[in-house]
């Protein structure tokens, strides 16, 4: 994964996530859109055979970096919770 910054203003962040695809981008988008401070979050894969999605994020208030950090934190917590609960219901400790 490589990040390339394309645009950075007070409320907007546009960057390329090189080497990733829908798996990661939609996960991030879904978490960002839950945040009421986020005005718009989305991504575009300009060419289907080149894994260089362009992610766009615009916020109503606060900084876009903060919204990203919060989304990543929330996803991490969610994934860990999922892993622990799955292991529990499987009948073993994680």
């Amino acid at each position: 994964m490589e990040l390339k910054l394309l645009k950075h203003t007070d409320n907007t962040l546009v960057f390329e996530i090189r080497g990733e695809g829908h798996t990661f981008c939609q996960l991030l988008q879904g978490a960002l859109l839950k945040n009421p401070a986020v005005e718009m979050a989305g991504y575009d894969i300009p060419h289907p055979q080149v894994a260089h999605p362009v992610f766009t994020l615009r916020v109503r208030e606060g900084r876009p970096e903060e919204a990203l950090k919060a989304a990543v934190e929330e996803l991490r917590k969610q994934l860990e919770e999922f892993r622990v609960k799955f292991a529990e219901s499987w009948g073993r400790s994680c």
Partner: protein, 265 residues
């Protein structure tokens, strides 16, 4: 949760579509397994060409030991055919005597007994009397996004958790919905319409359309933020390990992302 050796069906609640879909995609395309990548032929007098046999060998699921092997790109050996940290050699040497002989996946003998074909009875080629097949195959770890032979799952799906409501005051037990349901979710028992198989419902709404009442006496809808996962392993990895690895891979991606984000400032 329902499970057996290769299959699991479980319910996840309190997550959004993106989350379950990312998990599904990670299981399909990102969880590594072992598969034969290179084959060196010493002798092949069978009716099939070398490349066809190589392709058939590649599709044989192998028991994978994720903890003791590295992905070729993570291994520092730089060798084309790999070193003993990133590959397993399987040799095959079969000669048909006076009888016709079928070569099976069980005839492959690996140098690591842990990495053997999941099933011993997969036919590779039929040898006519006098023909022989001698080869050395190099199995490596890989990901499903590069080739389907590295997919650890044969089935990996999720669907909405269904909710089926019956309005008993409007229902006259005509049984039309029971008859039309392709998944046999409903049944008329004694004097009421019962839901006997809720998890099998695909939300097709055939029952709603078949109901002669207006408005219909039955309603199906998805439960928000609840999903049913259905996973079947090819046998190369235990099914719980696949789920766990997928979650770990996504966690790793997130850590990498936040680290790269810090670097950007």
């Amino acid at each position: 949760m329902e499970r057996d050796k290769l299959r699991v069906r479980f319910v996840v609640k309190g997550v959004n579509t993106e989350f379950v879909n990312a998990l599904r995609r990670a299981m399909l395309a990102e969880v590594p397994t072992m598969a034969i990548e290179d084959v060196v032929f010493f002798e092949n007098s069978s009716i099939l060409h070398d490349e066809i046999i190589a392709h058939r060998l590649a599709l044989i699921p192998l028991k994978t030991d994720l903890d003791s092997y590295l992905l070729p790109e993570e291994c520092g050996c730089g060798s084309e055919l790999g070193c003993n940290r990133c590959r397993v050699i399987l040799t095959l040497s079969v000669e048909a005597g006076d009888e016709r002989r079928t070569v099976y996946s069980g005839d492959l003998s690996p140098d690591d007994p842990e990495v053997k074909p999941v099933y011993d009875n997969i036919p590779i080629v039929v040898l006519a009397p006098g023909q022989s097949l001698k080869l050395e195959a190099y199995a490596r770890l890989g990901k499903g996004k590069d080739h389907a032979k590295w997919q650890p799952v044969s089935v990996c799906t999720h669907k909405y958790y269904p909710s089926v409501e019956v309005y008993s005051e409007r229902c006259d037990l005509c049984g039309k919905c029971v008859e039309i349901c392709p998944k046999r979710v409903l049944a008329v028992e004694e004097d009421s319409l019962k839901i006997v198989n809720l998890l099998n419902c695909t939300l097709c709404e055939d029952c709603v359309r078949a109901c002669p009442k207006n408005p219909p006496a039955i309603r199906v809808s998805p439960v928000p933020e609840a999903f049913i996962f259905n996973i079947e392993s090819t046998g190369s990895l235990p099914v719980d390990r696949i789920v766990e690895e997928a979650a770990k891979i996504l966690e790793k991606k997130l850590s990498e992302f936040s680290q790269k984000l810090e670097e950007l400032g």
